[in-house]
């Protein structure tokens, strides 16, 4: 674009900058409100530290929950299935942790575009399951499936309850996006535990009932974030 179009816009849009001063009474009220509750605060840790913290929490919770189950999935998966699913789930969990921290710290520099990367991760997970796991027909598809979704959501609810107070300490911008990020973290944890615990290692079951619990967790998280009031104190 030519410089002079920008200058032309600068002149017209920016106008007279001194004309938009807030009134002195409003300025005074703002200062009174802020200084009335002025206390020292400790800044949040850096983004890498916080993301590593969430990732560690994810890993610890996943290991504890997997240790508590009978690990049928772990026994049934082939080495290729196990390696592929673990890699995709680990990469997804890292993405979700970074996304979660971005929601907590306004104005943070985003290294990747979440709306572009998250669908790519989701497609990678679907492809891994669709290509590496068998597609048998099961007459009890629904009857055998819904308990898995329920279990995935139960695990997600526990994980969300544990990390929500930490996330809410930081959220100053979009609560819906933060809720969705909490849902994604908790839902991914649910999927990870289900994957190692479930004895039905078939593509239709995994795609519908396991990944379905992740989708539901994200939706519920977004809804809860939209509805819940912000944390009132820092």
């Amino acid at each position: 674009m030519p410089d002079n179009l920008q200058d032309w816009l600068n002149d017209r849009i920016a106008g007279n900058p001194t004309a938009a001063e807030p009134s002195s009474s409003v300025q005074k009220k703002i200062l009174n409100d802020l200084t009335a509750s002025l206390e020292p605060v400790t800044p949040l840790p850096s983004i890498p530290v916080m993301a590593a913290g969430f990732a560690s929490a994810f890993l610890a919770l996943a290991l504890i929950l997997i240790a508590m189950t009978d690990k049928a999935g772990l026994r049934l998966m082939t080495l290729v299935q196990l390696a592929s699913v673990t890699t995709v789930l680990a990469a997804g969990a890292m993405l979700v942790c970074v996304f979660l921290v971005w929601q907590m710290i306004p104005g943070s520099l985003r290294l990747f575009s979440a709306p572009r990367v998250i669908p790519v991760a989701a497609v990678a997970l679907v492809l891994v399951v669709a290509l590496l796991f068998p597609w048998p027909r099961s007459p009890a598809f629904i009857r055998e499936g819904w308990p898995c979704t329920l279990m995935g959501l139960g695990i997600a609810a526990v994980a969300a309850a544990l990390i929500s107070p930490i996330v809410r300490r930081g959220v100053a911008t979009s609560r819906t996006a933060a809720g969705a990020a909490v849902g994604a973290f908790a839902g991914t944890l649910g999927v990870a535990v289900l994957q190692f615990q479930c004895m039905r290692q078939q593509a239709p079951h995994l795609l519908v009932w396991h990944l379905g619990s992740l989708g539901l967790a994200i939706l519920i998280g977004a809804g809860a974030g939209w509805k819940l009031p912000p944390k009132s104190s820092s």
Binding site: L5, D7, A20, D33, T35, G107, S113, A172, T173
Partner: protein, 196 residues
């Protein structure tokens, strides 16, 4: 020519300003009242122009400004020392503005028709922008392009600052600004096009 890169002197000036803002924010986190006062005095006019865009009346804009400062205050621990202050502040302001817009829309949808239409209230944006025509043109752009343009031109932010504030990449901001300029060039009256 990339948008936002046409004022090198202003940008160099802003980096000094930005360092001052960083120091003030750190002092604010340590509960230094004089830092709060300086930040409020220096940033409120910029925030008000951003919050009032495009045609909000002064009363509503000042309400939003108060709300915005309370959010900044509640979330001041989320500011990371050594990070730029403006993107952090404007990310919060952006959501204050968005919530204010949603609230107004909810109220408007509940309002009943009255027999007499009240006199239109003078708008803050109108008093700050001499050319109403350009306002009308910008309002025809998609919301995301309007937002980028307002942050670049009204708030005087850099591309990276806008990217940080809007939670997107610098490339995406550049693309939106470019599209906005192309569209504006098409829409501009002849006088404006000649200027460009």
């Amino acid at each position: 020519m990339t948008p936002g890169a046409s004022q090198p002197h202003a940008q160099r000036g802003e980096s000094t300003e930005e360092r001052e803002f960083m120091e003030l924010m750190v002092r604010y986190q340590r509960a230094d009242a004089s830092a709060v006062e300086e930040l409020v005095n220096r940033l409120s006019p910029r925030l008000l122009r951003f919050l009032a865009w495009p045609r909000l009346n002064p009363h509503e804009a000042e309400d939003l400004l108060q709300d915005c400062w309370m959010r900044i205050h509640r979330g001041r621990h989320t500011y990371r020392p050594s990070q730029p202050v403006l993107p952090w502040i404007f990310a919060i302001a952006r959501h204050t503005r968005l919530d204010g817009y949603r609230k107004r829309r909810r109220l408007e949808s509940r309002e009943k028709l009255v027999a007499e239409v009240p006199e239109p209230v003078a708008t803050l944006a109108a008093s700050t922008t001499p050319n109403d025509e350009i306002l009308g043109l910008i309002e025809t752009l998609p919301k995301s392009q309007q937002e980028v343009l307002v942050m670049l031109k009204v708030s005087g932010m850099t591309l990276e600052e806008v990217a940080r504030s809007t939670g997107s990449s610098v490339g995406s901001v550049k693309q939106k600004a470019h599209r906005a300029y192309v569209k504006l060039r098409e829409l501009l009256p002849k006088g404006g096009r000649d200027a460009g």
